[in-house]
């Protein structure tokens, strides 16, 4: 494993606060999803249909993009295209500059994080206010999101309270989560209503109508996108669906998988700027369609990953994520979906640890609302990493040695007998410290082996 990943994982495993915070939110999410899916007996068939809808769109992405562009343009929106993250950020910054924007209100968007939009706005000297409560928390803390639905999952209520006391104009008095949310409401209201530009992502782009769909529970998207003069949408090209009815099917799966609700509180479909006689709404609407590696992913064996609707269920149910939280993954997207996406977005050489940091228990695929074969895709990255010689020499020669011994059963069995004896010298029951296995015993104990190997007991007639 690379040192950077190793160090992040070690730090995460040693952080007791982190474990408490992740367990509180992910545990609640897992339980609520379980109830919602349990009440929907045809969930299995519904997710196969959702996968088929997304596969159909991904296979015909060019046609749907052209259709969406024509419909969105007809509604009065301006459509932009960006091949890379940098191109997308430049387009957004340029629109802000033309509008003379001093401040932007941003409604949580993982694509915005992926393309580095917060940093690009800062570099351009444009003030940014994050309006989603969790994004507000991490903006104050100067941190990155650790989860795609709950970006501040790594924070305990005590840590949030401390942050608000230090940074809010009128912080909460009573130490409760209700009072903390009210403090954020007071702090953000004026900033949202006074912003020059509102920036959002999109949960779905509706091809036949040109509508952009956002979903939130807080209502912060609408408060960020309706008052400003300009609304900018940045969306990955895989967000397309043929029609609103297709979006409805996916929305049913998205809310249940993410929060366990039948639907998010606010689901809005925007089509173009303010019209004649309207009392509110932006004067301009811009939609930036971002590729950033997606068309290449489709052709490089990762088409199934483009089904992802960003519900976060895979990470909530991942035993690795639950231990180390989101930051240890090092990319924009954590958990199982992040371990598939990050090598594609940021390169395999620097991220080959991610597909290896997986137990292959299959839980992520089981809960995925669009049935992405995540373990298979992760295994694909492992194989590619091996083929391209990215695995370290110690691992390659170690596996070579094992393979050599495994082809000589007498030698292999002698080795096992020797290893059992050596390990039983180190301890009985659980071994706290084991030579050559510090990476394991540094974080947890190792189970001591039985007195004899399976093969030896089998030979003695224990069957």
């Amino acid at each position: 494993m690379s040192r950077a990943f190793d160090a992040r994982v070690d730090a995460a495993l040693a952080d007791r606060q982190l474990k408490i915070a992740v367990e509180r939110t992910a545990g609640t999410a897992e339980a609520k999803r379980g109830v919602a899916i349990g009440a929907w007996p045809s969930f299995g068939a519904a997710r196969e249909r959702a996968a088929a809808i997304k596969d159909h769109v991904i296979a015909n992405l060019g046609a749907y993009l052209v259709q969406f562009e024509a419909a969105a343009t007809a509604s009065g929106a301006t459509v932009h295209w960006a091949q890379t993250a940098d191109e997308a950020c430049s387009i957004v910054v340029e629109i802000c500059r033309k509008a003379g924007a001093k401040s932007v209100a941003r409604s949580k968007s993982m694509l915005g994080e992926e393309i580095g939009l917060p940093h690009a706005l800062e570099a351009a000297g444009i003030g940014r206010v994050e309006t989603d409560l969790a994004e507000h928390i991490i903006q104050l803390a100067g941190e990155r999101p650790s989860h795609i639905i709950w970006p501040a999952m790594h924070k305990t209520r005590e840590q949030v309270s401390e942050l608000f006391h230090a940074r809010h104009r009128e912080p909460h008095v009573e130490e409760s989560i209700v009072a903390m949310a009210a403090s954020a409401r007071r702090q953000l209201r004026g900033e949202m209503l006074g912003a020059d530009v509102g920036i959002s992502g999109a949960n779905f782009l509706i091809a036949d109508s040109g509508q952009v769909c956002t979903v939130t529970n807080e209502g912060n998207a609408e408060l960020s996108l309706v008052p400003p003069r300009v609304h900018i949408v940045t969306a990955g090209i895989e967000k397309l669906v043929p029609s609103m009815d297709h979006a409805v099917h996916l929305l049913r799966l998205l809310a249940r998988s993410a929060t366990g609700a039948a639907l998010t509180q606010y689901t809005t479909f925007y089509a173009g700027p303010k019209r004649a006689g309207d009392h509110d709404g932006p004067e301009e609407m811009h939609i930036v369609l971002v590729d950033n590696g997606r068309s290449a992913m489709r052709d490089d064996g990762l088409a199934e990953m483009l089904r992802c609707i960003r519900c976060g269920a895979c990470m909530n149910h991942c035993v690795v994520f639950r231990q180390i939280g989101g930051h240890a993954y090092g990319g924009t997207y954590p958990g199982p979906m992040g371990s598939v996406l990050t090598p594609a977005l940021d390169g395999l050489a620097a991220n080959r640890d991610l597909p290896n940091a997986c137990t292959m228990n299959g839980k992520c695929q089981e809960v995925c609302p669009v049935a992405i074969p995540l373990p298979t895709l992760l295994r694909g990255w492992r194989e590619k990493s091996w083929r391209e010689g990215l695995e370290p020499v110690t691992l390659r020669s170690g596996l070579g040695l094992w393979a050599w011994a495994a082809r000589r059963p007498w030698l292999y069995r002698a080795g096992v007998r020797w290893a059992i004896r050596a390990m039983r010298l180190a301890g009985r029951g659980w071994i706290a410290k084991l030579p050559f296995a510090g990476g394991w015993t540094g974080g947890r104990d190792f189970p001591a082996p039985a007195a004899e190997s399976f093969m030896d007991r089998y030979r003695k007639g224990e069957r």
Binding site: N220, L263, Y266, G281
Partner: protein
């Protein structure tokens, strides 16, 4: 080559739109839907969904619009709230007697009550369906503390798909399914994050 042309070139040839549309429509045939609580009766199902913890709306039922001001006064009094509200520039409110209530000239931005007319209600989820127009501003429905929504029983539909706008695509078409809420701190649900903390539906008919 423009970014647009480069992306489209990578995505390959575009197929016949008519064939694609037929394939896309076939993907929705016989869709699986959860059977919501409340049986087959649309009103009962809708009201059952309004009462779900994730929606958390209250409701009243009146026979005709003439009873609306009285129903609103009654709701605000029962809640211990000021007898004041902001009304939308909708012809339907003009002919009613609002004498018992103060009509606010500006929409309150962090407290108070606003009234809005929903075009449809969805029994499946308890959602209220709105569209922007000169008679229906959007922002007030997200600013006030109390969101009072008027819905004709005739506007109730069974599924979310049935609530789609029929004619031209409106600037904003939006569904409100409960009060503003957040679970961003430790996954604990708090109502009234940025939008309304209370949602009250007045069903007419």
């Amino acid at each position: 080559m423009s970014a647009r042309d480069a992306i489209l070139a990578r995505l390959g040839p575009v197929r016949d739109p008519a064939v694609l549309a037929a394939e896309a429509a076939a993907l929705l045939a016989g869709e699986e839907r959860e059977r919501p609580a409340g049986g087959e009766d649309l009103v009962a199902r809708f009201l059952a969904q309004l009462g779900q913890p994730s929606v958390a709306a209250t409701h009243a039922r009146i026979g005709s619009l003439a009873e609306l001001p009285g129903a609103v006064s009654g709701y605000l009094a029962a809640e211990g709230a000021e007898p004041a509200l902001w009304l939308p520039p909708d012809a339907r409110v003009a002919g009613l007697d609002w004498s018992g209530l103060t009509r606010l000239a500006d929409c309150p931005i962090d407290d108070g009550a606003v009234l809005a007319f929903a075009r449809a209600g969805v029994a499946e989820t308890g959602s209220l369906v709105f569209e922007t127009s000169p008679e229906a501003p959007m922002l007030p429905n997200f600013l006030a503390l109390r969101h009072i929504v008027v819905l004709e029983v005739a506007g109730l539909v069974r599924w979310l798909e049935d609530a789609a706008p029929g004619g031209a695509v409106p600037r904003a078409h939006y569904w409100v399914t409960g009060v503003s809420g957040t679970t961003d701190i430790e996954g604990t649900y708090v109502r009234g994050a940025h939008g309304p903390r209370f949602l009250h539906v007045v069903l007419v008919g």
